[in-house]
């Protein structure tokens, strides 16, 4: 054998799944392409500006404070894009940038980077923005218009407010339901012709992309399924109780960020339980919190907080849902 090609000695197993962490991450990034395209179809260039700014904020922070090559694993990219998708189209892009930076800095790097964080960084960034700039974050431009038209004051100077804009804004379907008891046709929700954040408009596109990821086992299908099931069951029970007061399950499922949240945010591997039983509990918990916040809370939308709160529960869930080790507990066939 030639000396230029020495043998290597590694620990077993010597085979490994073709999936690698960067591959999973970048596949998720790619699967967000259609969602992004849909967002830009509805909200024009503003959608791309906002997402790009959030992503840039995330990447710059990861590069600056992170350790060298961690940009390549793609996780900061996902955080940035997902954060961007939860924002309204008319947001000043400096806010999106700040959100991305916060998401990575305080959501991820302080815990030691990839894999160590407790809260979904994108949602933490979103919650930060929501708390910091409540007005800007609840100004929802209506979809439509020409592609090049800005949907609000995207280009406001850093630290300055959006100022007076002439963009046509409208309430989200959930806002309409909560504050004016006005419904929105479910077909509009499904195809995306309603007001709302960039990524929450078209349930159809998100579900398709999510199914693709689930088939590749890049997301844990149990989580979205249990979220949807919990929301549907609870909503149906309430709807049967008092139909005029509580909206129908279909509306609850397809309005707001539920589809995006359940598919892309709740399934973030780092911040969801590692056990399958835990995943069911986690998803069901999110579903219940979403319904509780939407119906009895002061906010129209509860997906973000539902997921963040359950993120906080994850270490606890992991602890109590440890699998029963083979050959312990109730044992079959002992003689």
């Amino acid at each position: 054998m030639s000396s230029s090609n020495p043998l290597v000695v590694t620990a077993s197993p010597h085979l490994s799944t073709p999936d690698s962490t960067p591959r999973i991450m970048w596949t998720v990034v790619a699967s967000l392409g259609p969602v992004l395209a849909a967002a830009s179809y509805f909200f024009g260039v503003s959608a791309l500006l906002v997402v790009a700014a959030a992503t840039l904020g995330a990447l710059v922070t990861e590069f600056w404070f992170g350790k060298g090559r961690t940009l390549l694993d793609g996780s900061a990219m996902i955080t940035g894009i997902l954060l961007g998708l939860t924002l309204p189209a008319g947001l000043p892009i400096w806010m999106a940038f700040v959100g991305g930076a916060f998401a990575i800095g305080f959501g991820k790097l302080i815990f030691g980077g990839l894999g160590q964080n407790v809260f979904n960084p994108a949602l933490l960034g979103r919650a930060f923005l929501q708390a910091a700039f409540p007005v800007a974050l609840t100004t929802w431009p209506k979809p439509g218009g020409t592609w090049w038209e800005l949907r609000g004051d995207n280009l406001a100077l850093p630290l300055m407010s959006a100022g007076a804009t002439d963009a046509i804004t409208g309430a989200t379907p959930l806002g309409l339901m909560k504050f004016e008891h006005a419904g929105t046709p479910v077909s509009d929700l499904f195809f995306g012709t309603t007001g709302g954040s960039l990524g929450e408009t078209s349930a159809l596109v998100i579900l398709l992309c999510g199914t693709y990821l689930a088939l590749k086992n890049y997301l844990n299908w149990r989580i979205p399924v249990s979220v949807f099931a919990a929301v549907a069951i609870l909503a149906e029970m309430l709807h049967l109780l008092d139909a005029p007061r509580f909206p129908a399950p279909a509306f609850m499922l397809f309005s707001g960020g539920l589809v995006l949240g359940a598919t892309y945010m709740a399934t973030d591997m780092v911040t969801s339980p590692v056990t399958n039983l835990g995943s069911w509990i986690f998803g069901a918990g999110i579903g219940v919190l979403v319904v509780v916040i939407r119906i009895w809370g002061g906010l129209a939308e509860g997906v973000m907080y539902g997921i963040l709160l359950m993120n906080a529960m994850v270490p606890f869930i992991n602890r109590v849902t440890q699998p029963r080790v083979f050959g312990t507990g109730r044992v079959t066939g002992v003689r």
Binding site: P92, M95, F106, I110, F128, A131, A132, F133, P134, A136, A156, L159, M160, S161, A162, G163
Partner: protein, 240 residues
């Protein structure tokens, strides 16, 4: 009221015990110790509750800082003054009594003099009673040292506390309202970061400050320094 079980041992990793007067300590050292080297909040991690709760504006920070300074100095001087007459068993009880008295006085005075600020500080003025800084200094320093040294130490600690509150208040008011002491800094179109005046903003600001302090100390030491573990809990272990 005295609790015998949790006695001295817990003190070792609590608030730094004042050095027994082996060599004469310069008054300057007594005074400056609390400002930076043993800053009650940033280094000893005491008195978190007011540091987080009332620092959403500079005015509130100053008022809270002054009230605490008043109680701190008053209590420490008195504690030091009567330390020879107070039996050990009722030591803590008398401390608490003294502190509560001073706090009541401060509370009423503030309400009479500056009702607006008193209202915005709310329940946190009476809560000075349970501010660990005061008990920690009374117990760790004033009950063993002369009146003069106790006064200097209390002043230093109080100033350190005020400085930290002021730092927090400044950051939070500038970012959160775009103002400093109520005066607008950036003009009308500034977008305030509302979160900074909300509870999460308090946690995040102090967390970030401690992070910077940790980073700075690490850099200065050039190696890993012992983590600044919270000192509050072990210290108050002595109290009851």
């Amino acid at each position: 009221m005295t609790h015998g079980a949790v006695e001295p041992a817990s003190m070792t990793h609590g608030a730094p015990v004042a050095p027994r007067a082996r060599r004469p300590v310069a008054p300057r050292e007594d005074l400056l110790r609390g400002v930076w080297k043993e800053n009650p909040v940033l280094v000893q991690v005491l008195g978190m509750c007011p540091t987080l709760a009332v620092t959403n504006s500079v005015a509130n920070s100053i008022a809270m800082g002054l009230a605490t300074l008043f109680v701190l100095v008053g209590s420490c001087v008195l504690v030091s003054g009567i330390r020879r007459w107070v039996p050990d068993q009722v030591r803590i009880a008398t401390f608490v009594l003294i502190i509560a008295t001073f706090v009541t006085v401060a509370d009423m005075t503030l309400e009479a003099v500056a009702p607006a600020i008193h209202k915005s500080l709310g329940a946190f003025v009476p809560l000075i009673v349970v501010n660990c800084i005061i008990l920690a200094r009374a117990e760790a320093f004033a009950s063993r040292q002369s009146v003069g040294r106790s006064a200097l130490d209390a002043l230093g600690m109080g100033f350190g506390f005020i400085l930290t509150l002021l730092l927090m208040g400044t950051i939070r008011e500038i970012l959160g309202s775009g103002t400093l002491l109520g005066r607008s800094l950036f003009g009308p179109s500034y977008e305030p970061w509302v979160i900074m005046v909300l509870p999460p903003g308090g946690f995040l600001t102090l967390g970030a400050l401690l992070l910077v302090v940790g980073w700075w100390r690490q850099r200065k030491a050039g190696r890993a320094v012992p983590v600044n573990e919270p000192a509050c809990a072990p210290t108050v272990g002595k109290v009851a």
